[in-house]
Symmetry: C2
Subunit: 343 residues, 2 copies
DNA sequence: CTGAAAGCGCTTACAG
DNA sequence: CTGAAAGCGCTTACAG
């Protein structure tokens, strides 16, 4: 490993001068800068980030919060996996490295994201899929550390998130256009911080209200998980409540598939007896029978905007509280006009 | 931020003594250790990793090589995404943090994995999905830096990889059991370092040779990409060469789907007219019609074994050159006995 | 325009 | 059993 002192010795200048030349700081003469740069180049000098971080308090490390212990999908999650891919690329383009942050690690007795941030001296953090300790995340941001959230809405932290209300509205308009007046909605867990499930419903209802149609709460099922099983059960529940429902908007594709499976098990045909719209455009959705109509969240744009917000925070520029990104409607074959069913 | 000196002042001991107490090194008396530990605890002390790394040369950082710029799937890749999930968890359990390494970054003029490793002083590297610069990776390992590869075979680096020959053999036995004597094979790009495509063929041929059947090269298509398009085209090519082929072993599910789509477009029925086995058990494979029989690579075990090998390297224990992990055969509905086709 | 001094937070010999 | 000294590689005021 060759250091700044090796270059100093080689060129006859002092270490601080070498440092300035390397960083382009301080008023050095063209020639000395030139000489030092050339020496550094030919000697194969590479800065030591740990040393630099120690004296500058800038690590060029961005903490990424992406928990997979508490969900089944890991990096293969349809939204988060893609967001991470692009977040990482954006960060690298800005000269930052990505490091995973953890809520708990035994070995170093890391008991919080905050501690982990301290240990590693990260310059900022990107929250993609956190352990649900929002209080702690708010505290982290209150620390002054730049943060951005790519999905969850957390007090004190700017969020970039899909325009769920608009998507729900679009789903509603589409279903109305096909002639559905009795529509059901199924979602997984939703709360103040993670509100995709409720926002999509707001949009759906808005479209129906505009048409003078009220979607009663008995047509809505908010479940604990975003799984096929829950979709299956919720569909059964809704159909028991309102046998005349002819279409379902499911808050994700897994729920949609569960719901369709239930209908099939009851001898119903999709979409003739039940039209269904999902969300997330999973890779399997184009192969389900019938091919599932869904929404595709724009991971690339979510990542890009998140990155911009983060970089702006780092340099102290003003930042928005929340940015909404439109989702793309993917029309396939799981929706048609309603027909009268016989039970 | 509170430092070792703050604790020293607080407890009346010196900084080195505090350091020893914190690290459990040096022969300190029980009482002083106790006092220092308590003070550290109550003062909320957290070590600064950059400082520690600077003096110990140990960063507790593991470089992860996972390129996504050169492939479409990113973290959603059916094998690599899962491997990364588990690798990260294993590493954390051992007290290491994961940081992504890059082949090229402009900002800090990182021009190689080696440079990036230097900059960040990583303790080891896990190669999941590298940019194809195997020569450089070998050089990196020759540096003495502990490395492990989770798929590619790279000179000088221990590899953990699916037992592709065994899987191919199993596919062959299965197809033979169903009565298929004319079988075709389609794979994407394969080479000395990334040889899944050729190994699976070796296993397939072995099974058939045992049955006294030779699989001629005209029944084999090795293409440039592992995509649906290539699978589609390769199927057409094989059928033109040998119209009597009744079964296909595809080296991944995308290729399998492309092949099946071609057959369908020709009016053939799957599996009656063409039986197909894929590889990777993608999430969409259970929904394709017919449901695709495939192999599932054991990402969890691959990650676990890789981790053990890496940790052993770090402590200087002997390591294997290569470890083979069995894949699980997932039987679905894309294979049946052959029937005579009419063209 | 350039350099001597001190410091970032920690650890490692070496004394005593 | 404990501490003074020096060092890890870099940068930041401060002089001149």
């Amino acid at each position: 490993m060759i250091t700044i002192y090796d270059i100093a010795k080689e060129t006859g200048f002092s270490a601080p001068t070498v440092s300035k030349a390397l960083n382009g700081t301080g008023g050095l003469s063209q020639t000395t800068r030139q000489k030092i740069l050339e020496a550094a180049e030919s000697m194969g000098y590479k800065p030591n980030f740990a040393a630099r971080a120690l004296s500058t308090k800038k690590s060029y490390l961005i903490g990424i919060i992406f928990e997979d212990k508490y969900m089944a999908r890991g990096f293969e999650h349809p939204l988060f996996g893609g967001v991470l891919t692009h977040i990482r690329n954006n960060l690298e383009a800005n000269g930052y490295d990505s490091i995973f942050l953890s809520h708990t690690i035994n070995e170093h007795s890391v008991n919080s994201y905050i501690e982990h941030c301290q240990l590693r001296d990260v310059d900022a953090v990107v929250i993609i899929n956190p352990y649900e300790d929002y209080q702690q995340l708010s505290e982290l941001a209150a620390t002054g550390l730049p943060c951005v959230s790519c999905n969850d809405i957390i007090p004190g932290i700017p969020t970039v998130i899909t325009d769920n209300v608009a998507a729900g509205y679009q789903a509603g308009k589409y279903l109305l256009g096909k002639g559905h007046t009795k529509v059901g909605y199924i979602s997984g867990y939703t709360n103040e911080n993670s509100k995709a499930g409720s926002e999509r419903l707001v949009g759906l209802r808005k479209a129906y209200e505009e048409a003078g149609i009220d979607i009663p709460d008995t047509n809505v099922a908010i479940r604990s998980y975003w799984s096929r099983e829950e979709g299956y059960n919720a569909m059964g529940y809704l159909l028991k409540q309102n046998p005349d429902i002819t279409a379902i908007f499911a808050a994700n594709d897994d729920i949609a598939i569960g719901a369709m499976n239930y209908c099939k098990d009851q001898g119903m045909k999709i979409p003739e007896d039940m039209s269904v719209i999902g969300f997330d455009d999973e890779s399997f959705s184009e192969f389900y029978q019938p091919q599932l109509t869904s929404f595709r969240q724009n991971r690339e744009l979510i990542a890009e905007v998140s990155n911009i917000i983060l970089m702006n925070q780092i340099i102290g520029a003003p930042i928005p509280e929340i940015k909404r990104i439109p989702a793309d409607f993917i029309e396939r074959s799981s929706v048609c006009g309603p027909r009268t069913r016989q039970f």
